[in-house]
Symmetry: C2
Subunit: 312 residues, 2 copies
């Protein structure tokens, strides 16, 4: 039986990954410190014979016997990772080192969920995996961006130095059910705002672009990568590119045409555009995303309706 550790497993992406792995019969250990994740995201697995939940901070060493490690633990949205930047760096660096140390000790395969933020405010468009990025090392986003860059560095050093079987995914903006309501990311903001009838807050002039991937496509990509023979890094994202004003209009159309659009000042070092080149994942992994933004949004709205309007 495949024993799988999912760090950050009670978070948005982690809980969907746990769903997939538990359902196919793996033995899943979900580890989380519940900083941004929530027990309710995996509550439906508690009590199952092939599921286990551990409250643990990945910055501290922990010794487990597993075959695969999906290492997701890390605050992922700007308001969360800026809350305590030093802690964010510790989570990225020491957390990743601990999980690589474990992978080395028990000869487990290790997958890092890195991010498109390693490309920073990119000067290459769309971004390929060869691009070295344009990241501010000393800005307010640096704890996250540089934290992930050095987590990649560590992964490749453990690969070269200790032959740990690593897999590195560079995840592009992902959305779906169970996103934290308070995480300030654009899709969750717009959908909550639209459901409440509040104005949709477009930062800057709304011309900055992102490419949004539905969470089931991501889970698929992560599992395919873990099971395949290539270390990566691989871009895992949906190449459909939208600017924030287009997104706001789509959310109006799909969720609530009455919710107005308002403009707010943008945050520092916000990347102007972002879109993955996924040729490498298509070619080497045979993976590509399937869910269109307009369809994914509708699947997310059901979940958000319950939580947002339940909240009110």
């Amino acid at each position: 039986k495949n024993r799988v550790l999912v760090t950050g497993g009670a978070g948005f992406v982690g809980s969907h990954l746990c769903d997939f792995l538990v359902n196919r019969g793996d033995y899943v250990i979900c580890m989380d410190n519940f900083f941004t994740g929530d027990k309710s995201n995996v509550a439906h697995h508690i009590g199952k014979p092939n599921f286990e939940l551990i409250r643990h901070d990945v910055v501290q060493p922990i010794f487990l016997e597993v075959d695969q490690i999906y290492h997701l633990a890390c605050p992922a949205s700007p308001i969360h990772y800026k809350f305590n930047p030093v802690k964010t760096v510790k989570t990225s660096v020491m957390g990743t080192m601990n999980m690589l140390g474990m992978a080395k000790r028990v000869k487990a395969r290790f997958l890092l969920t890195s991010t498109s933020e390693v490309y920073g405010d990119p000067k290459q468009h769309p971004q390929t995996e060869e691009y070295w990025g344009n990241v501010n090392p000393i800005g307010e986003r640096s704890c996250y961006d540089e934290g992930k860059r050095i987590a990649e560095t560590l992964s490749f050093d453990y690969y070269r130095e200790h032959s740990v079987e690593i897999r590195v995914a560079r995840i592009f903006n992902t959305y779906g059910p169970r996103m934290a309501l308070d995480d300030g990311r654009v899709v969750s903001n717009f959908v909550s705002q639209a459901l409440r009838g509040d104005p949709l807050t477009v930062y800057g002039d709304g011309s900055q672009t992102r490419s949004f991937q539905y969470v089931s496509d991501l889970v698929n990509g992560l599992v395919t990568l873990m099971e395949g023979e290539h270390t990566g890094p691989f871009n895992i994202g949906n190449p459909g590119e939208f600017n924030m004003l287009e997104l706001a209009k789509l959310v109006q159309e799909k969720v609530n045409p009455e919710a107005p659009i308002v403009y707010r000042e943008n945050t520092a070092d916000d990347p102007g555009k972002r879109k993955p080149d996924i040729t490498k994942a298509k070619t080497l992994l045979g993976w590509e995303p399937k869910v269109l933004l307009k369809d994914g949004l509708m699947m997310m709205v059901d979940d958000f309706r319950k939580r947002v309007l339940g909240d009110a």
Copy 2:
């Protein structure tokens, strides 16, 4: 009395900094694990009332009461930092965090010796402090380059989050007496080779450029930065730019015209050119380097002659 901690104080730059500080009457604590440094570099201070040597690895916490911390501890030459890349990352990240933790606790001022390598293989020439760099996050040099980038990130996060008085210097290639003979850096290689009558090993076609600063100019810059009111980052280097073939020819001319030049394959991700724009340091700190390469080389040769020929 000014109590100063110099981490990496038994290394090349650190020992010259200790000389300066001890001589002006500060109380100097030199901390080193002697990975690349050597006790002999500070032997002349042992026994002085205002000097203390501590054998300690900066990756481990340590509690001292000081007013200023010059944080230099980190292997600096490619062959040393590639020897154990994971340890290099630990030194950069955990070492810097420990020293920032100390600075926070005792309200000391903290100076990080960062590096021009944060600019990677630069697409801007010469490099200003605003440039975000072009660094490979997953290559063989990444443990050093990304390690220093995240050390800068941490410094600025402690500054913003905990009001630690930080100073960040981005040091460009520096040479002088007491460089490790086996460190593989170009100036020490060429000078040792010339003294031995061995061929000078030019990597690649020798057209890549660097800007070489004599160590006394650097010590001056670091002290000026520490004592001033600006956090930086500041480029501290000599803008005089030479390619490696020019450097080899200059060393032939100054040290041994009989030593031939040979070409060797270059290493991965070697930056094509590098030259500091030092306008910011000139303007805000009133600092600039004074020693010309040809003069600095001669001051270095005396020391190398003793050590290289003593070795033989």
